[in-house]
């Protein structure tokens, strides 16, 4: 059974310096509040993993928490580029950022392999692109029946996966609906997991399209209403698109970024 914890306690216990951390979400349910707590607790040398690193990863990178990024598409979704990410790659600010770059299909299958207890996954992918030249863990494998050559990628096994979800019950069973992305796989692939939820309820009323993560497969659940802001939580909140647009300007400049971080994250009270 998952433990019910506060966000601060959950991050303190489950996210450690040097960890491989996946904070997943496909535009929907981005665990912003948990990311801010990681910044407040000054984690360092994290390897961040995510298919679509977006604004929260830009913030973690700019705050100096991250030494390495494993990803397939890094941008401000629907807006443009990530300036803190660019500054780290192009100018090593505030610290150098090493990249391990894949395609979405590759990353998704790497999580699937991790969740499945397999050391690798097979797909039709990457062939003819320049990605394998720069990402050594993209290899080939031959079908033992047809002889056909396919692509192999290694399993992802994050030390900890952090996701946001709609709700959980008191036994820590987690319910997610809407675009559920790769969250189930990311949680099951990880050694530990922390799920922030909009609310804890007595009983999870079934919802069409739901994914339920049983409490015995989750390490800890923290109630964090609004924990996905400025992204959205289907059924609870809508995307704060003004913030995504504003982020472009805030993040272009190191000073305006630092001011924003000090004001809105570092000096903010810990939630929950």
């Amino acid at each position: 059974m998952a433990k019910l914890v506060s966000l601060a306690d959950g991050v303190a216990e489950l996210v450690r310096d040097g960890d491989v951390v996946a904070m997943e979400g496909f535009t929907h349910l981005i665990p912003f509040a948990a990311g801010h707590e990681i910044i407040r607790q000054r984690r360092r040398d994290l390897t961040l993993v995510r298919m679509t690193p977006d604004v929260i990863y830009d913030q973690l990178i700019g705050a100096g928490c991250v030494g390495r990024l494993v990803f397939s598409w890094g941008g401000n979704p629907g807006v443009g580029s990530l300036h803190r990410f660019r500054d780290a790659v192009q100018n090593s600010w505030p610290v150098p950022l090493e990249l391990e770059e894949h395609s979405h299909a590759g990353m998704a299958n790497r999580y699937v392999a991790g969740a499945s207890g397999l050391p690798f996954a097979v797909l039709r992918g990457y062939t003819g692109t320049d990605l394998p030249r720069h990402t050594p863990n993209i290899r080939t494998i031959d079908c033992p029946f047809t002889g056909e050559t396919l692509t192999a990628v290694p399993a992802l096994r994050p030390d900890v996966t952090v996701v946001h979800a709609q709700r959980a019950d008191r036994a820590g069973n987690v319910q997610i609906w809407g675009i559920t992305g790769v969250q189930k796989e990311a949680v099951l692939a990880a050694r530990r997991s922390l799920v922030t939820v909009e609310e804890i309820v007595d009983r999870l009323e079934p919802v069409p399209g739901q994914v339920v993560l049983p409490g015995w497969a989750v390490t800890a659940v923290a109630p964090v209403p609004g924990g996905s802001h400025p992204s959205y939580t289907q059924g609870y909140s809508v995307r704060d698109n003004d913030f995504y647009l504003a982020w472009d300007a805030i993040s272009r400049d190191r000073d305006s970024f630092k001011q924003w971080l000090d004001r809105h994250v570092r000096k903010a009270e810990a939630q929950a």
Partner: protein, 254 residues
């Protein structure tokens, strides 16, 4: 006839490229706008597939991103991200992959990764691959929508993020890519199609008012021009009205 911008002409031309009753894997940005325009005009049964896992999305406004809740709310089915790639894209179930590009070369190879410098120390770091490599590999055909300029239409892409025809005829087969590749590129100046023999992108249509010289001047390689070069139709009043109404929905959410 209403006045229109070059971007509007490009979007309308791209939308016209999509046939009804086909399935289209939609990239974000210009492809999503054009695909939604097609569905709202001549292709009401166009199946929009988004890599967020939404199959058959029918949004009544432009999604803010490929993970917009309106896509899940209106989809025939919402599946996991691994499933959309493994069960739907990879086996070749999707007719058309609709992509953008930061750089494009004469064989339709696409770069959305890095520009200038080298990979570890680039001049410009772009978002990266996303779903594009496998969309470009596996869809029945690929349509690219991109503004034409010397910056985008380059002799050789700095990084092959998604393979078009590689270095020419036979390369896709040699690589084992099962989709048909980038048959069509829609720009703000006209339409290019891959020559079936040489695989080279060839200017086959100009938008009204455009010239071959403009197109050549915006292309970083000696641009092939079709003997049957035609001039496309301008946007109809209906196309423009629907497109502008769609764009307005995006601003309204903002």
């Amino acid at each position: 006839m209403t006045d229109y911008t070059a971007d509007e002409m490009m979007t309308v031309a791209a939308a016209r490229q999509l046939r009804d009753d086909t399935a289209c894997f939609v990239g974000i940005g210009l492809p999503s706008t054009a695909a939604n325009l097609a569905r709202a005009t001549h292709a009401p049964n166009l199946v929009l597939v988004y890599e967020s896992g939404c199959l058959g999305a029918k949004p009544d406004r432009l999604p803010l991103s490929i993970g917009d809740g309106i896509l899940a709310d209106t989809a025939d089915a919402v599946v996991s991200v691994p499933e959309v790639f493994n069960y739907w894209l990879q086996p070749g179930r999707i007719d058309v992959g609709f992509l953008g590009a930061a750089q494009l070369d004469r064989y339709g190879n696409i770069n959305t990764t890095v520009v200038g410098g080298d990979y570890t120390d680039p001049r410009v770091r772009l978002p990266g691959a996303g779903g594009a490599p496998e969309i470009a590999a596996s869809c029945g055909e690929v349509v690219v929508i991109v503004r034409q300029s010397l910056r985008t239409f380059v002799e050789r892409v700095d990084f092959v993020t998604s393979v078009g025809y590689g270095s020419g005829p036979g390369d896709r087969a040699r690589l084992g890519l099962r989709g048909g590749g980038p048959r069509t590129v829609i720009t703000d100046l006209g339409v290019l199609e891959a020559d079936p023999r040489t695989c080279e992108l060839t200017l086959t249509r100009l938008h009204p008012g455009g010239t071959v010289e403009q197109a050549r001047a915006a292309t970083g390689w000696p641009l092939a021009v079709s003997d049957d070069l035609s001039t496309g139709e301008p946007p109809t009043d209906d196309e423009l009205a629907v497109l502008r109404a769609l764009e307005a929905t995006k601003k309204a959410v903002r």
